[in-house]
């Protein structure tokens, strides 16, 4: 696809999102917000999985760090949503720094198991420190005060804050991928030994990728807390970390737009399946199975391959 074509598609998507905010009903608004939150989570996560090649089971904890960071700040310090978001993201990044410092010493399955261990430690703290975190009830009664004088109490108002954060996240992650930093990460994925022979401190880069993706998980978590006005302890559970993996995988791991498309598919599919049956996990598992067995590049990977094939068939069509 040509550059102009890509910009056209992103432009149209942005227009559609604004239009949804202005004209859509509550249900569509809510769904679209969930899609955007999931997309922020997955885009950040994919910086680690798709770019750096590290599989983390600790991102649920980082998401929860954002959620509880904002929640506790909101309940005990100030209702200001902007400050709250900053606190949530900063807290998630701090936790990511601590967890990541230990985890990046190992790779592959050992990295995955370490992130699982640290993530579950965080979960156990949230679960057991009832006085602070509310235990299994979570944090409730988080309010949406006006942001810089603009009311965000109602969904159609809050929507534009989510949209702004979403746009910011997409832009920043896109920039990161194209930057020298992002290219080094891809180098680490392809061959970490060679990258380190080139004089690059691989561990530091891995840690940086972990913290950045953790910060985005935190952003998604704190926005979700504002949206639902509560923080849920199960968001810290390791199984929640599987969600961005599924989303990235459905959309396509190696593509930038993969997690975006995957998030739309995930949320919409879930809604549709839940209309027909209570057992949406069953169908979801079947779909996941089909993706892994057959369509390993995800939807966007498959699409890209098809477009590439068409281009190759047309002489001189490559751009």
């Amino acid at each position: 696809m040509s550059r102009a074509g890509v910009y056209l598609i992103y432009g149209l998507a942005a227009l559609a999102l604004v239009a949804i905010g202005l004209f859509a009903g509550r249900f569509v608004l809510y769904l679209t917000m969930r899609v955007m939150l999931l997309a922020i989570f997955a885009l950040g996560y994919n910086l680690l999985l798709g770019r750096t090649g590290l599989l983390s089971f600790g991102h649920g904890a980082l998401y929860a760090a954002g959620a509880y960071g904002l929640g506790l700040f909101n309940l005990h310090v100030s209702h200001d949503p902007l400050l709250g978001l900053l606190v949530g993201v900063a807290f998630a990044a701090l936790i990511a720094l601590i967890i990541g410092f230990f985890c990046v010493r190992q790779t592959e399955i050992y990295f995955a198991m370490l992130t699982l261990a640290f993530g579950m430690m965080f979960f156990s703290l949230i679960w057991n420190l009832r006085e602070v975190t509310g235990g299994d009830d979570g944090l409730i009664g988080i309010s949406r005060a006006p942001l810089l004088g603009l009311p965000i109490g109602r969904d159609y108002q809050f929507y534009f804050l989510v949209l702004a954060c979403f746009a910011l996240a997409v832009w920043v992650i896109h920039r990161i991928r194209g930057s020298a930093f992002g290219l080094v990460l891809a180098g680490i994925r392809e061959n970490h030994q060679r990258t380190s022979f080139a004089g690059i401190p691989v561990k530091n880069y891995r840690l940086a990728a972990f913290v950045v993706s953790g910060a985005f998980a935190g952003l998604a978590g704190s926005l979700a807390t504002l949206l639902e006005s509560n923080a849920n302890p199960f968001s810290a559970h390791w199984s929640h970390s599987a969600e961005p993996v599924l989303v990235s995988l459905m959309g396509g791991l190696q593509t930038f737009s993969g997690p975006l498309v995957g998030s739309v598919i995930f949320v919409v599919l879930r809604e549709v399946i839940e209309r027909f049956t209570e057992n949406w996990m069953l169908w979801f598992g079947v779909i996941l199975l089909a993706i892994i067995m057959g369509l390993r590049g995800g939807v966007m990977g498959g699409l890209e391959k098809r477009l590439g094939r068409a281009r190759a068939a047309r002489p001189g069509g490559a751009s």
């Binding site: 999985l49 190992q106 261990a117 156990s124 599924l246 995988l249 598992g285």
Partner: protein, 291 residues
């Protein structure tokens, strides 16, 4: 004081042996196939539900259910390995893990469809339902039974792997897949056999869980699989000896944690896992170089 100490130890031992029953299959499968199988917890759960169902159909003969139930689960394991897992051995780790995770989602919901989403109370076993008096306090005799079964399973596995012809082939294939294949071992068939055997171990663990846990819930596999992961990792992925020791340690740690530090019970388990992974990623008995 002493009685309480002994009882906490016994509770820890029975919990540890119980985790071992599940972790042994997981470890065997990882050691030979190199796949970390999330669905192992589901096999455990299926084992429990199948045994439970057979119990009510077979006139409440627990032992008959324990023999027949896991065989059904083996069939499930066969299908999973033969028609799905086999095709992802050569691809990246995330895909393998996710494939087994997909089966977790499927089996969890299937159990809900077949047996209902609520918990089911499980029956007790004739002859083992009472308690024994140890140092003046009562201890459930079924837990004592589990403490005995654990080492028996370990002994059986050791004998199978070290003393039999089949065990020698399994060890050969696990240390060098290609060489074993060159020497005429039908590696794909062997992998299927090992996977089915591992599945059987998990399902038997589930069957034995029926009287032990008291309640059957559709999510029961997910909670045990994490304990089994911890144990397998601590002992050294792929090492049965390590998994046995790891299970003892985790069982005792969790039992003492529950007794003396209830707030940090779960925390202790995971911090131990993290420390072992950082200090010795290959675990207690893992091979030298981390893969």
């Amino acid at each position: 004081m002493l009685e309480s100490f002994v009882h906490v130890c016994l509770a820890g031992l029975s919990k540890g042996m119980f985790i071992w029953l599940v972790a042994s299959g997981l470890t065997l499968i990882f050691g030979v196939l190199g796949v970390l199988n999330f669905a192992h917890g589901s096999f455990y759960m299926l084992g429990a539900y199948f045994c439970f169902s057979l119990l009510s159909h077979l006139g409440h003969n627990f032992w008959l259910g324990l023999i027949l139930g896991p065989l059904f689960v083996c069939l499930v394991g066969y299908v999973v390995e033969r028609y799905f897992l086999r095709y992802v051995y050569h691809i990246d780790l995330p895909y393998q893990l996710l494939l087994t995770f997909a089966f977790v989602l499927i089996f969890d919901d299937l159990v809900k469809v077949v047996w209902g989403a609520g918990s089911i109370g499980s029956p007790s076993v004739a002859g083992l339902s009472g308690s024994v008096r140890i140092l003046g306090r009562l201890f459930p005799s079924y837990s004592l039974f589990i403490i005995l079964v654990g080492p028996l399973v370990a002994l059986g596995l050791w004998g199978l792997l070290e003393k039999t012809w089949a065990g020698r082939i399994i060890r050969a294939a696990s240390s060098d897949r290609e060489m074993a294949s060159a020497l005429g071992v039908r590696v794909p068939a062997l992998f299927t056999a090992v996977f089915v055997f591992g599945t059987w171990l998990g399902a038997v663990g589930g069957g034995l869980a029926v009287p032990y846990v008291g309640l059957l819930t559709p999510g029961m596999g997910e909670s045990i699989i994490i304990d089994a992961f911890v144990v397998a990792v601590i002992g050294g992925l792929g090492s049965l000896k390590g998994a046995f020791l790891g299970a003892l340690i985790i069982g005792l740690l969790s039992s003492f944690g529950t007794r003396f530090l209830p707030t940090f019970d779960m925390f202790l388990t995971f911090i131990l896992m993290a420390i072992v992974l950082l200090w010795r990623p290959q675990g207690f008995f893992g091979e030298e170089a981390a893969r």
